[in-house]
Symmetry: C2
Subunit: 295 residues, 2 copies
């Protein structure tokens, strides 16, 4: 990764962590609810969705005050974090390890993990009401987040994923699952950053193509890492998806074709940014990061 991007990503992570820390302080709470929420938020996440929101805003309006985007970035991370906490639950994927640490329901209790996830989702919407953007823009953001994460988006994707365990999916079905499960929120992240910076419809359409491509690329790379990564770097059991008999790009296409697919999606993402100048450099670098990352 170019050093420039590493610095940009670190800066984004510091910003979003700061907002999350301020908006969800560890108040006195005998129930451990806040502790569980914070545990799940501050767990070494890559903050891909926040970075996407910042980068998209900068692509539209290079000099934008990033304070405007901070609550949106934090909101996206809360939403993402809630989805991980619930996905890890015994009744769902039943994962004990996330980013190298015990999952929320292992570190706390199952009930606390359910409630922490619930509270994180609520917090995601709450945060969207704290920006200094015009109310009409704020409502658009609420709508984007709800549509990306709801019954036609992320939640549906997780339901498709669960229904797919021990079933054969073809490539089209696998793609439908991922477009909902991870793609919808990634598209919302880019759209929300761009809308906050005043993007027009043409710009939004181009960025949506970009987001669709990297959303899928992200997942293909995840499937590749499930096979080629090592448990320590991944922070989760290598080979877990294969062992669980979950369909993956690698199981359907083979490793080489999966790598080719990731490269194609990477090119497609860069192609979608054709109308943008140097202001879209962080988005371009992020696309590269997504297919080159090792965890």
């Amino acid at each position: 990764m170019p050093q420039e991007f590493t610095q940009f990503a670190s800066q984004c992570r510091a910003r979003v962590d700061n907002v999350l820390d301020q908006y969800l302080p560890l108040a006195q709470d005998p129930t451990q609810l806040r502790a569980a929420m914070r545990y799940s938020l501050f767990n070494g996440g890559k903050r891909v969705r926040p970075i996407l929101a910042y980068a998209a805003a900068l692509a539209i309006k290079p000099g934008i005050n990033l304070n405007l985007i901070d609550p949106i970035a934090a909101s996206l991370e809360c939403l993402h974090s809630y989805s991980l906490v619930h996905d890890d639950l015994p009744a769902m994927d039943d994962d004990d390890l996330r980013r190298g640490k015990p999952t929320c329901h292992i570190a706390f209790t199952e009930a606390t993990a359910i409630l922490a996830g619930d509270g994180l989702q609520t917090l995601a919407f709450d945060l969207l009401t704290t920006t200094d953007l015009p109310a009409a823009t704020q409502i658009k953001l609420v709508r984007q987040l709800a549509q990306g994460s709801g019954v036609d988006g992320m939640v549906l994707g997780q339901a498709i994923d669960l229904a797919a365990v021990d079933h054969q999916l073809n490539l089209a079905q696998l793609e439908t699952m991922h477009r909902h499960k991870t793609g919808a929120l990634i598209r919302a992240s880019v759209a929300m950053g761009a809308i906050s910076a005043g993007a027009d419809d043409k710009q939004l359409a181009a960025l949506d193509n970009y987001a669709s491509a990297i959303g899928l690329a992200f997942q293909v790379q995840d499937d590749i890492l499930d096979v080629t990564g090592d448990t320590t770097t991944l922070g989760k059991q290598q080979g877990a998806d294969i062992a669980r008999n979950k369909p993956t790009y690698v199981s359907l296409l083979g490793l080489d074709a999966a790598k080719t697919k990731a490269d194609e999606l990477h090119r497609q993402a860069l192609g979608a940014l054709g109308m943008f100048d140097e202001s879209a450099a962080p988005l371009r670098q992020l696309a590269s990061y997504i297919v080159q990352r090792s965890n």
Copy 2:
């Protein structure tokens, strides 16, 4: 109940059911996610929160077009319904029966119930973006809902409730739990109806006193019904809270003093409505309904 109120409540229920049915149609969905969400929404609920929102709006602006309130009413019911689905889960209250029917995780699967609850919460926020109200008002509604249902509201209440099982709570602690677990969303329901109708701060403060009192009255009556009701009418096991060793108003105060407490809260609620004329009749009747209901 006066026939007038019965009719008003029926009209409100029909309105909210219609919005929910239209906004969450039973589309083709092999995952059963939508089916589980609809199952939980259309399960014979009393629709108290929607009725509160309509009644509060009418108290502020007697001739208001109730179409403006419909999405808010539906939103409140989605939020409430999600909380019930998650509360009933095995890791939480582990209830098999809700309103006389199998709970969501029994009728479907535990994973589907978790996701259905998640999707219902998202839908609640989504619906708030569909009103014909000014964007600034819509954002206020999002904020009210988030604050009432989040980590300082309903979700915290549920966490306190879980932590209280097998522990002795005193009356103040029990009240704190209920003020969060059910009170916060009931207050939000009243506030959201009133805000939509353009309430001023003085009106909001009076209505909030009303809502606090009936929120607690609702809970006291629940505890009374847990002892005096019968399983068929209640739609859940009579005596379940006592059996589970949960602290209740009846277990702490005794049955007679609990009844006196409900009456006091009823009077307090009516007193808070002193500044309102006949336009607040539905709110007054609702307060009576809450302490006189048998299920």
